[in-house]
Assembly symmetry: C2
Homo-oligomer: 495 residues x 2
């Protein structure tokens, strides 16, 4: 009975709910999954906040709704949401609505698990074990040995790395905290993701104690500066304990020279973390994994399958070469959850390694995609995305009005300026940079309002605003690359 107010009870009932559930799935498949990713349709329908509040009734009230009303609500949610699975959503380090990832997410939701004990999540505990081991093997940790966890995002994965590194450095920290210890210092490049600073601050280390290392013109960590900064910290009487190298930087897609950094870490006895949240996906490609050469020497690695490999949000991992440290650093042995007198082997109760208690099963979506496509399919996916990026670069490289920020991108982020006609050939004029700085935001505004594509821009290193286009979706073809280039021209040429 669609027009009857719904019952408050939290138990599915075929008679009451089946029709509604199926109608909802119809809406989702039609509007979000198929039409939402159809090139003929828009990526978004832009609305200013005030307007969106008028169009959608966000308010909650005392009375229940009917199924009819709820289906309308659902449609509106879909209509006004950005279609991140649309081929022309090239705005972030994630995109796509992978069909196999989606099915697995839907399964996870239908089971509503929490992964802390084997008794509550037998399937997901064993699945995590397998996937983390396979990922470690791909990283190159000997025999896939070591440890790992799924985290709610790469930022928190980086936080775990800091936590493990400092625990190894000074196990006392767990009980005593940082207060009475020497000043801990860690090193990362100025192009590293902001989560390193953010988490270091959250973890009580302080942003001042994240020493930022210069990068070269292509965005890679300058190893001689790293050595200088380590020496400086020692002179200051501080306690350097960790270097976080980045494999695939957020904006430029640069790969820090891991081998050389590993040598430095070895010399100074520092924990080597590699933030491969974004770049890790390249490891599944025989052709491209050389970008991360030396990663097998890392103590820990952040790798987000939800980025290059298009697993649904969120699917992030921290992988460690060492066994034990995760549990040692984080366990509190809560007796109500991790009882030791259970009838099964409690080594499968993995929850105490985590800082989370309840935890979603983020493994199923990735495992299911892996099962579906095989390792060979994941490799084809990565290789195709690289080819697209290469092709896109070739398209714009010598094209009038386009200028590369980095001539030869290493990865699938491509940073470039679009120079409208009115600015071409005027590089030497005093206000050129200021004017160019305003171009990307204007084009972005137009594309958002038309809903035709989404690509982001930013200023960095004194450069005026430039576009960063990012590819992860292997459903895109060369024709799409051409379309994206032409679309930017269409939107910007009259500026």
């Amino acid at each position: 009975p669609v027009s009857k107010p719904v019952s408050f009870e939290s138990l599915p009932n075929r008679r009451l709910h089946e029709e509604f559930l199926r109608s909802s799935v119809d809406v989702l498949l039609q509007e979000a999954v198929f039409e939402g990713t159809n090139r003929k349709n828009r990526v978004l329908q832009w609305r200013e906040p005030e307007e969106l509040r008028r169009l959608m009734d966000f308010g909650v009230r005392s009375a229940p709704s009917t199924h009819e009303e709820l289906l309308e609500v659902l449609k509106k949610v879909v209509t006004y949401s950005v279609k991140t699975g649309h081929p022309y959503f090239v705005n972030q380090l994630f995109s796509a609505v992978d069909p196999y990832g989606l099915v697995a997410q839907w399964a996870t939701d239908a089971l509503n698990p929490s992964v802390y004990t084997y008794e509550v999540s037998p399937v997901f505990v064993l699945m995590e074990e397998v996937v983390l081991r396979e990922m470690r093997a791909i990283v190159g940790f000997e025999g896939g040995k070591g440890d790992g966890i799924f985290c709610p995002g790469g930022s928190i994965a980086n936080g775990y790395a800091i936590s493990c590194a400092r625990y190894r450095f000074m196990p006392d920290i767990k009980k005593k905290g940082l207060h009475s210890l020497p000043r801990l210092v860690l090193f990362t490049s100025e192009d590293a993701h902001y989560s390193i600073k953010k988490l270091a601050s959250f973890q009580g280390i302080g942003t001042d104690n994240v020493y930022l290392i210069r990068t070269d013109a292509r965005g890679r960590m300058d190893v001689s500066h790293l050595v200088e900064e380590i020496e400086r910290s020692l002179r200051e009487g501080a306690a350097p304990f960790m270097v976080s190298a980045t494999a695939g930087t957020t904006v430029i897609g640069a790969f820090d020279p891991i081998e050389k950094i590993a040598d430095v870490c070895q010399k100074y006895k520092l924990w080597l973390h590699v933030d491969a949240a974004w770049g890790g996906g390249a490891l599944v490609s025989a052709k491209h994994r050389h970008l991360l050469k030396g990663i097998e020497r890392a103590d820990s690695v952040t790798w987000n399958p939800h980025k290059l490999l298009t697993a649904p949000q969120q699917c992030s991992t921290l992988l460690l070469r060492h066994e034990g440290v995760l549990a040692e650093a984080h366990s509190t042995n809560a007796a109500y959850l991790f009882q030791k007198d259970k009838f099964y082997d409690t080594k499968y109760d993995t929850g105490d390694k985590h800082i989370q208690c309840g935890r979603r099963a983020d493994v199923l979506k990735f495992w299911f995609m892996w099962k579906a496509k095989g390792t060979s399919g994941l490799e084809k996916h990565v290789d195709k995305v690289f080819e697209n990026a290469r092709f896109f670069t070739d398209c714009i490289k010598n094209r009038e009005g386009f200028e590369m920020v980095i001539a030869e991108p290493e990865y699938t982020n491509i940073c470039f300026w679009y120079v409208p006609k009115s600015l071409r050939g005027r590089k030497d004029e005093a206000d050129y940079k200021d004017k160019l700085h305003k171009v990307a935001p204007r084009i972005k505004e137009r594309m958002m309002k038309e809903g035709s594509m989404m690509v982001t821009y930013q200023a960095q290193k004194g450069h005026p605003n430039f576009f960063r286009i990012v590819f992860q979706n292997s459903g895109l073809d060369k024709a799409d690359m051409v379309h994206l280039v032409e679309e930017i021209e269409r939107l910007g040429s009259d500026l």
Copy 2:
């Protein structure tokens, strides 16, 4: 074509995927949602890890699968997973697969958003704003004012509270870290959730600097001991900065006396956090919200709609009475994501308040349930769950073989011993406690192996192992309460 290997491309395609997606939904609705929550079926099919590995092929390999194979895989995942939506899953502080929550999760997955900027998540940014304001209003913060965030779990929400409290105490900490600061100390009860200690350690405060306050026989914080401990910390030259009171403790379901604790916090100028992860749901009930009296005086509140209100995993919030501190404590102003020269009002780019970068939209499921049932429906839900808990208590209170740990439970966790016939009337014997200690694990083993129900046990405060049954699912009725009691008797009477 079901028997053709799947393509590697990450773009949904009606021709290739619609049939598979629909068949998958059929499996999920049938096996997980309806049959998985049917009283006639088992809560789980127990398998030892080794056996499960034989029954399910967890391995990944190079070649892709066919849709046929994937459907089989999906069925196995469902078959061997615990049905947390089953009425007899009363094992944790979460349960149920709410039909409206489920639809909203499925919608979230089909849209695959990340909530950091308005441009990428317009609907979810505004929705979060509304839901967090409504929740603050229910807490009792004047006019719903303040701030808030969705967190990946109550543990991390508690961590944010610590972070805000110490930032308010000493803003220097963000840059300088804890190293050169006085020794920070926070207070929580010995019955508080382990996340307080865990996060304090992760955040560099150290577990030793979490001073545990005694609880009374009913599990509530002893306020005079709190004062003593604050005084002690001051004598030690430490810097007390925060009290975390618990509203609804994890095991016993006790509510700390917030009013009195608020007075103490006022006197000593300490941040008052209330961990109402579990108890917060009671606030929607006119009848039961008195349990949290005084919560409107808190500086921050953790409240997990995924617990008592049965929103799907995970849905956790931190609510603050203060504006600004979340952003001040956590922002790093990453220029590539939070550009200030956007064409819309960037106050809607809320991501920089968070320590996460990418972030799932955990709001939709709760908002949609709220829309569906109305505030009145949420209230009926809570009242029914309380009634069930009351009825269950009445059932066992004077029943032979059952003994209450706390005679009058305040909340919907009920802690009790089941005393098998062989032990009745032998309380005075020397080995009574040891023997009783072994009963709950034995019964648990039997219920797991039969799959007939799931309820947890633990030892606490020198007590031998006792059961803790927890109710959140409002689909349960009085007959279920009787069934659960009788089931424990059936499983344990011969011990």
